[in-house]
């Protein structure tokens, strides 16, 4: 399972400040820490608010700084297709992930050709023009639409990570099962496609959010989620990921788990 490190995100005040002040050291340290904690990918989001052109400039700078510090490929995270376009042209590396497209027409038209041109992976959110459907069928309809259009464009299913999405459980406790059932159904319908999950929305509005995030991740891992966007610096979460790989029979001779244990990184 791929771990996508979520920490370099301008919705965090400190990261936004570091981008604004061009504090490379801060970002590079955050990049190195996440990779050393086990991130296979780093998500980069530079959306601070002052508009499309500024975001494009910012994300190019962030990409340069992070790539100078680490070797892992990047997940380019923006709600603005223009910023993604500028970032991809600037990136020139392999295996970038575009984070993200959804079933909105404008998004599909702007981002599918970019994914094809740059041979990038694509995170596809199970939502459409009217937001995140509250039920499984609505989310699957959004996925169907994205995958149809991607295939029509010549993008292979293997290049797409579908995120079934999770809404805050504090607001609606049915939403955990909606996410898990959507995930299971995507795995059944599109076995070649990959899946991913952003965890942290699940725990919004609840105390000790990490506990909820961990519970959700364990259940998504059982269903075979292929990647997850999380905070690799959360040691408890990362230890549980290793433990779950053992329980699910995906860590022969428990090598991955024991390696982490010997590094002193498995915390009770």
């Amino acid at each position: 399972m791929l771990i996508i490190g979520e920490r370099i995100n301008a919705t965090s005040k400190r990261v936004a400040e570091a981008i604004g002040n061009r504090n490379a050291q801060f970002l590079q340290e955050l990049a190195r820490q996440q990779v050393s904690a086990g991130a296979n990918y780093l998500d980069v989001n530079a959306g601070r608010g002052p508009g499309s052109e500024q975001e494009a400039e910012d994300i190019k700078w962030v990409i340069d700084m992070v790539r100078a510090a680490t070797d892992v490929p990047l997940s380019i995270d923006s709600s603005d297709p223009q910023a993604i376009k500028a970032a991809l042209a600037h990136y020139r590396g392999n295996a970038a992930i575009i984070n993200s497209v959804n079933a909105e027409d404008g998004k599909l038209k702007a981002l599918l050709p970019l994914a094809l041109e740059h041979q990038a992976y694509l995170i596809a959110l199970a939502m459409d023009d009217s937001g995140i459907p509250k039920d499984v069928d609505g989310r699957l309809r959004a996925c169907d639409r994205i995958l149809e259009q991607a295939s029509a464009c010549g993008i292979p299913l293997e290049s797409i990570f579908i995120d079934p999405l999770v809404l805050p459980l504090s607001v609606d406790t049915d939403q955990g099962m909606v996410t898990l059932r959507t995930l299971a159904e995507i795995k059944a319908r599109y076995p070649q496609a990959r899946t991913t999950l952003g965890l942290s929305n699940a725990s919004y509005g609840l105390p000790l959010r990490g506990v909820i995030n961990r519970a959700l991740l364990m259940m998504a891992m059982q269903l075979g989620v292929d990647s997850v966007i999380l905070d690799p610096l959360d040691e408890r979460l990362m230890a549980l990921v290793k433990a779950a790989q053992v329980v699910l029979g995906r860590d022969p001779f428990c090598k991955g788990y024991l390696k982490e244990y010997r590094k002193g990184r498995i915390k009770e």
């Binding site: 301008a10 919705t11 959306g47 601070r48 608010g49 709600s79 603005d80 939502m127 023009d129 009217s130 937001g131 995140i132 809404l167 805050p168 504090s170 607001v171 406790t173 919004y204 509005g205 609840l206 105390p207």
Partner: protein
């Protein structure tokens, strides 16, 4: 006796206990009447429905708000309490109409153009209703034109605008400008909220108020109401 049952309604709203099935915060309350049963009982006893609202429901929600701000209560606690208030208001509505109690004011709620995030806005709507306001929720991705149209038509006292994205918060400014162009800016108070917004941002775009959470939103609305 009346005071007693109003106090019970209040305590049960605070615990978000809808009916007698609910075990309550400390357990062991199964079988005791919840808000639904208590409101009906109170009506049967001839209790003034207006007192049930002001001394029972509204006071309870203001305590829920205090607890939420002190981080003793979380979003689900607050939603459970608000749900009992909604149920109580449904039972009381015909009786309140008879006794001529007006709402405290009319609020239009909307997530602005280009933004689909509606959870925060929905919570604010629920809490405003719980505080005795009439709320018309227009949903998400609401254009300035639609807001101008509804203000013209419904003449609300307040508009609550929500945005979650740094890329959509400027649509709040656009909405306020559209109201000004339509000559409606002084007819309605505009309050804003949402993760990327702040009191400074509210002042910058010419909004009348900012609420960091649902209870602050209610407080801002009450303050603006007193000033006008």
């Amino acid at each position: 006796m009346t005071d007693d049952i109003i106090e019970q309604i209040k305590q049960n709203v605070i615990q978000g206990r809808m009916d007698k099935e609910d075990e309550g915060f400390d357990g062991g309350m199964v079988g005791q009447p919840g808000v639904k049963e208590l409101v009906q009982q109170a009506l049967d006893m001839g209790t003034d429905p207006r007192r049930m609202v002001t001394e029972g429901l509204t006071e309870a929600m203001s305590i829920v708000g205090e607890r939420f701000e002190a981080k003793d209560y979380f979003i689900p606690d607050m939603l459970a309490s608000a749900e009992t208030v909604g149920e109580a208001m449904d039972i009381l509505a015909p009786h309140l109409a008879k006794s001529g109690m007006a709402t405290k004011g009319k609020v239009i709620m909307a997530t602005v153009k280009g933004d689909l995030h509606d959870i925060g806005k929905n919570i604010v709507s629920i809490i405003l209703k719980g505080a005795g306001y009439e709320v018309n929720d227009m949903g998400a991705d609401v254009t300035p034109e639609r807001i101008v149209a509804i203000v013209t038509e419904e003449k609300p006292d307040f508009i609550g605008l929500s945005a979650l994205l740094t890329t959509t918060m400027m649509a709040m400014k656009e909405t306020i400008e559209s109201l000004a162009e339509a000559g409606l800016r002084d007819k309605v108070k505009v309050i804003i909220g949402g993760a990327p917004t702040s009191a400074e941002f509210a002042a910058e775009i010419g909004a009348d108020g900012y609420g960091a959470d649902a209870f602050q939103a209610v407080r801002v609305v009450e303050e603006l109401k007193q000033r006008s």
